[in-house]
């Protein structure tokens, strides 16, 4: 997670997650990839990551340019990094929605798409770990 300005604690608003999410969205995908997930709004999310010793070392994603979706995905990426795939699996759309209450209810379904994309990555990561292919 990036630090705030002049060493201050990073903010936790939608806008701040969006700023960091836009940068992550441009940074490209990582080694282990889930599938591209889509929702009824024709938004998509594709998560990727690097695993070391059953720990998620980094997360990348490529998602549709929707401010709310980007913010949720960035929040998920920051929360999942440093956790095991099992622990990251327990992050829920309800957690995201509760953490960013300023998102209007009609936009909160983006959290479901974000979590689905993360779960897809975790399923693939788990397969790699079982096969002994984790770096």
């Amino acid at each position: 997670m990036e630090g705030g300005c002049c060493g201050t604690t990073p903010r936790r608003s939608v806008s701040d997650y969006l700023d960091r999410g836009l940068r992550r969205n441009r940074a490209g995908l990582r080694a282990v990839r889930g599938v591209v997930c889509r929702d009824r709004n024709d938004l998509s999310a594709h998560f990727s990551g690097d695993l070391v010793a059953d720990t998620i070392r980094s997360i990348g994603f490529k998602v549709s340019p929707c401010a709310t979706l980007l913010a949720y995905c960035e929040m998920l990426a920051e929360l999942a990094t440093g956790r095991s795939p099992t622990a990251a699996w327990n992050l829920t759309a309800a957690d995201l929605a509760a953490s960013l209450p300023e998102v209007p209810p009609p936009k909160r379904d983006r959290a479901i798409l974000a979590v689905a994309a993360l779960h897809s990555l975790l399923l693939h990561a788990d397969q790699l770990a079982i096969a002994g292919e984790t770096p």
Binding site: S13, V14, S15, L18, P65, C66, A67, T68, A71, P101, E102, V103, P104, P106, K107
Partner: protein
């Protein structure tokens, strides 16, 4: 003629052009064009915050005349007002605006 207004600049547009020209004309039914929608960028979104007196008049006339009001989502998030808008006023971006207007598209889009 059907028009949509996009409030994109932040000079004197909401307090003057909207509040003292467009809004009174809409309230009196003599604007001269059928307004389909209004979209707000940047600080113009503050007019949509619940309790704003100009916004209250705008929401009332919008409900009466079926005018779409929409705030820019990124602008509202950045100003931390996305959850403080008048009830029923959505936030969104261009895809949301185009989709909302697609059933009754304007003849002209006027950027103010």
């Amino acid at each position: 003629m059907k028009v949509a207004y996009i409030f994109a600049t932040q000079r004197h547009n909401v307090s003057y052009v909207l509040a003292k020209m467009i809004l009174p004309q809409l309230e009196e039914g003599r604007h001269g064009a059928e307004v389909i929608g209004m979209f707000f960028f940047e600080d113009n979104n503050f007019v949509l915050v619940d309790g704003n007196p100009i916004g209250a008049r705008l929401v009332k006339v919008a409900q009466e005349k079926n005018i779409l009001l929409m705030g820019c989502d990124q602008c509202c998030y950045e100003r931390e007002i996305a959850d403080r808008l008048f009830a029923g006023v959505p936030i969104g971006c261009f895809p949301d605006l185009y989709k909302a207007l697609s059933g009754n598209p304007p003849d002209q889009v006027i950027t103010l």
